[in-house]
């Protein structure tokens, strides 16, 4: 049997050809950099109040203007990026580290009682409004970034559990899985040795998209006052603060609003681009 070797362009070429991925990665890189730089340097202290300078429009001294307390908007956005990204990152991490093993375990017990319990439990979380749970957690433990992480993280679990269970189920039918069973490997071992590497693509793509949703969710929680607490700046709360001043100083709402939009857009574009790059089938059609 003569096999036709499909000539595939190198990954680097594909990356350069995929516009969505480049734009997405560029936007994401900007915000990640902003968050990282904020640890060592911000133009001003993000918590420093200076009533003299309040409600300044963007200028050379304050690139993005100042808010009603005279705090520098750029510094707040940079420190806020840190909070948003940390919350979203940890929340996605919780989702992956709890959800994926649950999904893989359920898939290995397909059709059994444990499978049912795990998946119906996931349905329950899915059906529960996330904001309600966040309010509950806040009511019990008080508001704060950590509790936002817990609330968002819990809602990431069923996403990853379902995804990995579905993908794993189709892989369990593959013959190399049967061959591994013939060698006496346990289901848990097969799940991690054979199935996990083969669904990693999916998880990476879903992870990026969940990351953007996490940022959005954090902003939402902060907006209603359940996220990071003052004096720590947060994009959601900046929006909330701007609400009453929107007719006097529209830039107070525009700056955090656009920041959120661009971050989420960037991550989604990057996720879409990644999916195209990692999926060999789509890759062939495109090239």
């Amino acid at each position: 049997m003569s096999e036709q070797t499909v000539s595939q362009p190198s990954t680097m070429k594909l990356v350069l050809r995929s516009n969505g991925f480049i734009i997405g990665a560029f936007l994401t890189a900007i915000f990640v950099l902003a968050a990282l730089i904020s640890f060592i340097w911000t133009p001003y202290d993000a918590a420093q109040i200076s009533i003299v300078n309040k409600l300044k429009t963007p200028s050379m001294a304050h690139w993005l203007g100042t808010d009603h307390f005279g705090r520098d908007m750029l510094s707040m956005i940079m420190v806020g990026a840190r909070v948003s990204m940390a919350v979203a990152f940890v929340a996605v991490g919780v989702g992956i580290f709890v959800g994926v093993p649950l999904g893989l375990y359920a898939a290995s017990k397909r059709g059994g009682l444990i499978d049912e319990i795990i998946m119906r439990g996931n349905d329950l979380i899915f059906a529960f409004p996330s904001l309600l749970l966040a309010i509950m957690i806040t009511a019990v433990f008080g508001p704060g970034a950590v509790n936002a992480i817990i609330a968002i993280g819990i809602f990431n679990i069923p996403v990853f559990a379902r995804l990995s269970r579905g993908a794993a189920l189709s892989l369990w039918q593959r013959e190399y899985i049967l061959a591994a069973q013939v060698c006496g490997k346990s289901k848990a071992r097969i799940s991690f040795e054979h199935i996990l590497p083969n669904i990693a693509n999916l998880l990476i793509v879903q992870g990026t998209i969940q990351f953007s949703l996490g940022i959005l969710a954090e902003a939402g929680l902060a907006y209603v006052g359940l996220g990071a607490q003052p004096p720590l700046p947060s994009w959601g709360r900046m929006l909330n603060d701007a609400q009453t001043l929107i007719s006097i100083a529209p830039h107070l709402a525009l700056v955090p609003g656009l920041t959120i939009v661009l971050t989420v857009l960037g991550l989604n574009l990057m996720g879409d681009g990644l999916r195209d790059l990692l999926d060999p089938k789509l890759r062939r059609v495109k090239s």
């Binding site: 013959e175 190399y176 049967l178 013939v182």
Partner: protein, 539 residues
């Protein structure tokens, strides 16, 4: 009269030449058999007649159908031609029908599109056509859905769709490859009958030389996008001028050299004792009692050391379930499986991990048998997991290299990934993986069915040699009886979960006792020059 004339057809897809200088003719009312191995361009030739080519295809040459030059027709005129004058049936009956439409709808749809007949008239014609393909109204009303038909019945519906408008040319692309032998014989008979009745021309594409020998008036042998030999079936098979035709012919009839096995009645490798297996049926209502389907019913047999056993039967007879049960991939619902005299699995109880090394398996599909993310060395060494003694890396490395060399590959191949290998090489790697722990029994589940004939002959030779060298026993599961005949000592015939006949292969094939065995053996397409000669004399 010449119905279709293809002249100097050259075709390339994305600048890769696929077909080179193809010229042939099909006469009205004759069957043209097109044979060749995978990648020889058989299907693309057929698709170029229908102009259903993939994007990026360029072609030159001339295709004249019934006096019309295909190239001069617009897409609209081509649509009128497809289905109306030329129709096609495909290999996979399971996916070629739309599952949400009734069979009546699917047959009458193409009638309505092409003729503008009313629904009632179209349904009437659909009914008549289904009767013609031997799906009578009493059992197969128009309102039935494809999902409760068997593979052979679906293929009949496909044929009905294709012939409903009485086309002049029917193209059948591997129409029986996915079916088992008895169904294959029925479908081939039906096609032959339709050709006679309608004065239809049939272009029969297949990799199976025996099917062509049995069916075709004219033969076209293709290799790497070129026609290497063509002519009447009689001429091609008696002269076989091109070496490739001779090679195909000998590979199809290939019998590996092997020593007759002196079996030692006391040295039993596998003993299957009264094994039964059930499958849960879906519950009809939430609280109704769980129903079971018994796929394997009270099966008992033994395999001795070095003995090769064939297990044959139609699809759905339970042979795959039995093989899974033997390997303890599926739990037994009754009975015991003993390997080398020790209980391997029994009802509700599986084997110890260390026992696993005694049996290995080689699967049908060389493409899904390996984890694409591991290197060959790691893939092959996987069965060592079942070995109780710890091996260090050097020992494993040596064993991997030894196994690769013993299946005819290079020791250096262990550093490659699986996608760098062809189907035949992958099957060799699968055998190496099974071999590495020196098992007593290897289950070969349709292990050569997906391979081209010449590769199949090589793999069969390899299997025979390994069996002699390592005193291996095989349980050879296949629906291809000619392969089973060539490599096994004893054969088990399975029907509806039971073993209905067992005996030495030669005896069973020459003198079958059970009615089912007889029908199986009668259905095997034969590749016998004398028969082709006899057929020529009659016509």
């Amino acid at each position: 009269m010449t119905l279709l004339k293809v002249h100097n057809l050259d075709l390339s897809i994305a600048q890769n030449p696929i077909l080179k200088d193809i010229s042939f003719e099909i006469e009205a009312g004759r069957i043209l058999g097109v044979v060749g191995e995978s990648g020889s361009g058989k299907s693309i030739t057929a698709l170029s007649i229908l102009q259903l080519l993939p994007n990026g295809t360029t072609w030159s040459g001339q295709i004249v159908f019934d006096g019309q030059d295909i190239q001069s027709l617009s897409e609209h005129e081509l649509c009128g031609l497809r289905g109306n004058d030329i129709s096609m049936i495909f290999q996979e009956p399971m996916t070629a029908l739309n599952p949400v439409k009734t069979i009546g709808d699917q047959v009458s749809e193409s009638i309505r599109i092409h003729t503008g007949k009313s629904r009632a008239e179209a349904d009437q014609l659909a009914r008549e056509t289904l009767n013609r393909v031997e799906l009578p109204e009493s059992e197969f009303p128009l309102s039935r859905y494809p999902h409760d038909l068997s593979g052979g019945q679906r293929q009949r519906v496909m044929i009905a769709m294709a012939i409903a408008l009485q086309p002049k040319l029917l193209i059948a692309d591997e129409p029986t490859t996915a079916l088992d032998v008895t169904t294959q014989a029925e479908i081939l008979d039906l096609l032959q009958k339709l050709v006679k009745e309608d004065d239809l021309s049939l272009m029969l594409i297949t990799h199976d030389l025996a099917v062509v020998a049995q069916m075709a008036d004219d033969v076209l042998v293709m290799k790497d996008g070129e026609i290497v030999e063509q002519g009447s079936s009689f001429d091609v098979f008696t002269n076989m001028e091109h070496p490739y035709t001779r090679q195909l012919f000998s590979a199809s009839n290939h019998v590996p050299q092997r020593e007759a096995n002196q079996k030692n009645a006391n040295d039993v490798v596998l003993s299957v004792e009264h094994v039964s297996c059930d499958y849960k049926l879906p519950k009809e209502r939430l609280f109704s009692k769980q129903q079971y389907f018994r796929a394997v019913k009270d099966v008992s047999f033994k395999i001795h050391r070095g003995e090769n056993i064939g297990l044959v039967g139609g699809s759905g007879c339970g042979k795959s379930t039995l093989s899974r049960a033997i390997l303890a991939l599926k739990s037994l619902d009754e009975g015991n499986v003993l390997i080398n005299g020790e209980t391997f699995s029994s009802k509700g109880k599986g084997p110890e991990i260390s026992q696993r090394a005694a049996t290995q398996i080689v699967f049908q599909d060389p493409y899904s048998s390996f984890n694409p993310r591991h290197k060959v060395g790691r893939l092959i060494s996987e069965p060592f997991y079942a070995k109780s003694e710890e091996l260090n890396e050097d020992q494993i490395d040596t064993a991997v290299k030894e196994a690769l060399v013993s299946v005819g590959l290079n020791a250096a191949d262990s550093d490659k990934y699986i996608h760098e290998f062809s189907g035949g090489q992958r099957q060799r790697i699968a055998i190496a993986r099974a071999l590495i722990v020196k098992p007593s029994l290897i289950v070969l589940d349709e292990a050569v069915s997906a391979l081209d004939v010449s590769i199949r002959a090589q793999v069969l030779d390899l299997l025979a040699e390994l069996s002699d060298r390592f005193d291996l026993s095989y349980l050879f599961i296949s629906h291809d009886l000619s392969v089973v005949r060539s490599i096994t000592d004893r054969v088990l015939v399975m029907e509806r979960g039971r073993i209905v006949e067992t005996g030495p292969t030669q005896d069973v094939f020459e003198n079958p006792q059970h009615a089912y065995t007889k029908s199986l053996i009668k259905a095997i397409p034969k590749l016998d020059i004398d028969e082709i000669r006899a057929k020529e004399k009659i016509t």
